[in-house]
């Protein structure tokens, strides 16, 4: 097991570097933000050259990459070019909290809803229950996230006035007592969490269902029945345990969807999270901030996959760690 873990962790290193390199190259394609300023006649070329030098954009690209990568490793993530020169770490630190809060809520909601339903659908294949939730899951998978957001906003925000139409808290609530603040925030979170988890629910239900169906036809279930076990034991002990093995990988599979889903959901509901921060950094060509955002998201993805792999190895006794 130790060898396996070490091996998987070592395998991540080239991946980390590769991702950084590719992201760096793609972002560099845009060109540096200062050259673009040249179209503005009020900025003097000398100032631009000074700025370029100050931010290191006058170096050849490979040197820039190494310099940047090294400073990133040493924890110096630099300053944002446009957000008033604030530290990238500060901006990211602020945004990531919101994103983690509400994507975690969405993840948990999607998980607890879809996995049991998927399993029950498989056991009751071709019943009304199965058909209804098959329909539901296709609906979820086919729903354009932002449109769903609009529709919910229109109904619950604009028409019924039950819920706020975006943002993260009612102005003035910052100093309210803890309980009131949580309640207030929950109101703001309901719609984005539903929107973000909706897509995941659909695909996870399908995934769980087919993973369970796969197991239901295995020989060892026939053996379990031949032993005279009650049907409940056959399903819960023998089938479920095996069906859950591939479901562990959902954890890794879910992350890309959550990250790109968060970007859109945050925009629709005006949440100042990572998605919006990334998007703003991209559109304003704020190189240090954009790089930091993208890398954090990539590394989260890679780590998520690692955790899923290790969990998989833990729950499946057949995996050998040689």
């Amino acid at each position: 097991m130790k060898t396996y873990v070490t091996k998987r962790i070592l395998q991540m290193i080239p991946l980390f570097i590769g991702v950084a390199l590719v992201t760096f190259l793609i972002l560099s394609l845009v060109g540096d933000p200062f050259t673009q300023m040249m179209v503005n006649p009020r900025i003097r070329p000398a100032d631009i050259a000074r700025l370029k030098h100050q931010w290191g954009f006058d170096l050849p690209i490979y040197l820039r990459f190494f310099k940047w990568f090294w400073s990133m490793l040493t924890g110096n993530w630099g300053l944002s070019i446009f957000a008033g020169g604030r530290a990238v770490t500060e901006l990211v630190g602020h945004a990531i909290g919101w994103t983690l809060k509400f994507s975690l809520a969405a993840f948990i909601l999607a998980f607890v809803v879809s996995v049991p339903i998927g399993i029950y659908s498989a056991i009751r294949q071709y019943t009304l229950f199965d058909y209804v939730f098959t329909g539901f899951s296709f609906f979820g998978m086919s729903m354009p996230t932002f449109w769903f957001g609009f529709v919910l906003l229109m109904i619950f925000g604009l028409k019924l006035h039950w819920l706020p139409i975006g943002g993260i808290m009612t102005p003035g609530m910052e100093s309210a007592p803890f309980f009131a603040r949580v309640l207030d925030q929950a109101k703001y979170f309901i719609l984005p969490v539903i929107v973000l988890s909706f897509f995941q629910m659909g695909s996870w239900m399908r995934y769980t269902r087919s993973s369970m169906l796969e197991v239901v036809h295995q020989d060892y279930l026939r053996t379990a029945r031949a032993k005279g076990l009650p049907e409940r034991t056959v399903i819960v002990k023998h089938a479920l345990r095996n069906a859950l093995i591939p479901i562990v990988t959902l954890l890794g599979l879910a992350l890309p969807g959550l990250i790109s889903g968060a970007m859109i959901t945050e925009t629709v509901f005006a949440i100042p999270g990572m998605g919006r921060l990334t998007l703003n950094a991209m559109t304003s060509n704020d190189f240090p901030l954009a790089m930091a955002c993208l890398l954090i998201e990539s590394y989260l993805l890679i780590l998520g996959n690692l955790v899923a792999d290790l969990l998989y190895a833990m729950v499946d006794p057949r995996i050998k760690y040689s």
Partner: protein
């Protein structure tokens, strides 16, 4: 069990080729058949519909009487803030959205097939290099980079969007095909082809690829729906197909500012995307069942 029971085949009078059997099984999948009809209608409407509507794409109505009209018998889906007929625009936008959906899937598949087939068949260093590259591409969040690319690649046309979606869309196909080729290259019929003296290229394209077709087709079908949604999301963020060319995505983006006073602008293009995507998902699912290799040994 049934497989064993019916192992004794009797050669029937009809040549039951693969596609004949797939069709036979697909017919039993009611939702898939329904989706096929639905999609056919949507495609036909989008392609030919605009020739029959009373309005052209950018025709603006009378500034006082035709702006932001709710759906009526004159304007089935209402009109927008410029007095344009939404029905006509949704049909025209459908052309673009479907075009983007199909062509981006097609281009991504081409890359995915080549990468996956060669990595899976040859294995070794080639496989290691290609798959590490695939891993890297997989680990980068797609949406922000799509945004970057759309500002880097010049032009504003539909093909740009297709290219962008394809650049980040081939990895899944590559992985699926690699996995298939890894197992197919060990099969006895591959070994038989090698024993006859068939070249590697012959084995890859003539023997293995036809056997990998089923998952490719399923993935492509599901992909069309997915990419239509992708295009819409890009458009929503302001990086998709640029107006005045309408697509379902940019019609929606345009509509959000009028959400409070003209909700019909939000409903129709969104429903168009939803219904089309559901159609492709159901069809893909039906195809997956109908092409299940376990059905045709």
């Amino acid at each position: 069990m049934i497989g064993e029971l019916t192992q004794q085949k009797e050669v029937s009078t009809r040549v039951e080729g693969y596609w004949y059997l797939v069709g036979k099984h697909l017919k039993k999948h009611k939702l898939a058949v329904f989706s096929m009809f639905l999609l056919a209608i949507i495609v036909l409407l989008c392609v030919f519909g605009p020739y029959f509507t009373r309005y052209t794409m950018n025709e603006m109505g009378n500034a006082t009487t035709d702006v932001l009209q709710a759906p009526s018998s004159r304007h089935w889906f209402g009109t927008d803030e410029l007095g344009r007929d939404v029905f006509t625009r949704v049909l025209l936008g459908g052309r673009i959205s479907l075009l983007v959906g199909f062509s981006s899937v097609f281009s991504a598949l081409l890359v995915g097939i080549v990468v996956g087939a060669y990595a899976g068949y040859y294995g070794g260093i080639l496989d290691a290099v290609l798959m590490r590259f695939t891993d890297i591409m997989f680990s980068i969040p797609v949406l922000p980079l799509l945004v970057v690319l759309s500002s880097v690649i010049p032009g504003a046309g539909v093909w740009k969007i297709v290219l962008i979606i394809a650049i980040f869309g081939w990895m899944t196909d590559a992985r699926i095909i690699r996995g298939l080729f890894l197992s197919l290259r060990e099969s006895e019929f591959t070994e038989a082809a090698r024993a006859i003296g068939v070249s590697n290229a012959g084995i890859i394209w003539r023997h293995l690829l036809p056997n990998a077709l089923a998952p490719i087709i399923v993935s492509a079908t599901l992909g069309v729906g997915g990419n239509i949604i992708y295009e819409a999301a890009l458009s929503y963020l302001g990086f998709g197909v640029m107006p005045p060319t309408p697509s379902w995505g940019n019609i929606l983006q345009n509509a959000q500012y009028a959400m409070t006073i003209a909700p019909w602008l939000v409903w129709t293009p969104g429903l168009a995307i939803l219904i089309t995507a559901i159609g492709f998902n159901f069809l893909g699912d039906g195809l997956r069942d109908a092409m299940d290799p376990r059905l045709y040994r």
